[in-house]
Symmetry: C2
DNA sequence: TTGGCCAGTAGGTAATTAACCTATAACACT
DNA sequence: AGTGTTATAGGTTAATTACCTACTGGCCAA
């Protein structure tokens, strides 16, 4: 059984060295290459660097990890990637997932966790730090209330919710009026109040807000 | 150190018995109550059943797990809940998370995994089966292409994407025209083409589609 | 190289929807 | 009895959408 070839990308030499020595000591891994930043990594990989798993930081000077992953995918290289980061925000996680990252580990993770992530990804599975999973699940829960005071939730009336639901289901004002047995003018009034209450400027924004708030079970 | 009091809800006696005996054998748990379905569980809990963690099936006759959890939360009871289910669809997971479930375990999980979930939830953390995490992450990845042929992706032109992006950022046609140095009529044309191409009937539907397709990094 | 196709641009006209403001009945709450 | 909120809806004007048409500049294949 041969060792798993790992390629490290991080702008902090100290971190690279720490991971390097830990992985080499483990015995199951060998670090076949290191790069300071995305550009260097991309060059080395294009020049034919051979490895099994790429372990990369996200925030780096001269091409960040996101750009690196994007470029690698654009080059058509099917590479197994573990993102290593301090960022646990949904935006970054989503972005990396979209670009095809297979593992997402926080820098606060233990060395054991990094090893686990590399092993899982090497085997063709995915690995996410528990914190990452929690971030995502909280997000799914409806935008995580923990963001201090700001989340004054807007209380929509039953009728407003009905109207909003029908808007999102792509019915026209006329159709909504017909369905609810009210005048088109009333539908307009409800829409106006919805935009007013939620502070949005058009139906697109309102729809996305409703989606993120998870106001309706079916969307 | 006292045992963790578990309450089981599942319409299959066999499953309840299996979990019951496994938990009791473990030594760290004691099953203090069992119910056939949601209604029975709700009655027993309202009548004062005392437990630490509620382990409930989702699909059941006479009040399913989702409704049970919803009702419990509406009663203002702060209960630690692990959902036990065969369903691994994003919709169900989202729904349960929204209602405040703390753990989500698939029925295909091992007994060890159920134990782990109960322990984690008892300690105030969350637990999700790896399959559940994967389902969610795949969803976040952009709707999981694996749904066979159907996903004919609509190729939007660069200009159309720009316009769509600005719509979602809630700019009016006039503002979009100004930003892109084109006429309002052209913006209208692009919008028309966007609706036509994607098969939507209004901007709300289009916005949600764009969101689900994850066309833009910032939303 | 000439035709065909598509992206991007934009106008005309009618219908729909949004943006203002106003108004009234029904109900709850004090 | 008075006050507030919800749901209802009209009038007027502005903006957006719905159809239809049309021209330019690439690009690609016959």
């Amino acid at each position: 059984m041969s060792e798993i070839k790992v390629f490290l990308v991080d702008d902090h030499k100290m971190i690279r060295d720490a991971i390097d020595s830990y992985l080499e000591d483990d015995g199951r891994f060998t670090v076949v290459g290191q790069a300071n930043h995305g550009q260097e990594a991309l060059n080395m990989i294009k020049a034919g660097a051979d490895f099994d798993v790429l372990l990369t930081d996200i925030v780096m000077p001269s091409m960040d990890g996101i750009e690196l992953v994007k470029q690698l995918k654009e080059e058509g290289l099917s590479v197994k990637i573990v993102a290593l980061t301090m960022l646990s925000e949904t935006q970054h996680i989503k972005k990396m997932l979209n670009y095809g990252v297979n593992g997402y580990v926080l820098k606060s993770a233990s060395q054991e966790e990094i090893v686990k992530a590399i092993l899982e990804v090497y085997e063709g599975r995915n690995y996410y730090s528990p914190e990452v999973t929690n971030t995502i699940m909280d997000h799914l829960r409806g935008g995580k209330q923990t963001k201090s005071a700001v989340s004054l939730d807007i209380p929509l009336t039953k009728r407003e919710k009905e109207v909003l639901h029908l808007i999102i289901k792509e019915f026209s004002n006329g159709e909504i009026a017909e369905k609810l047995f009210i005048s088109v003018r009333t539908v307009e009034a409800h829409k106006r109040n919805l935009l007013e209450k939620t502070g949005h400027k058009n139906m697109a924004g309102l729809a996305i807000w409703a989606l993120e708030k998870r106001l309706f079970d079916d969307i």
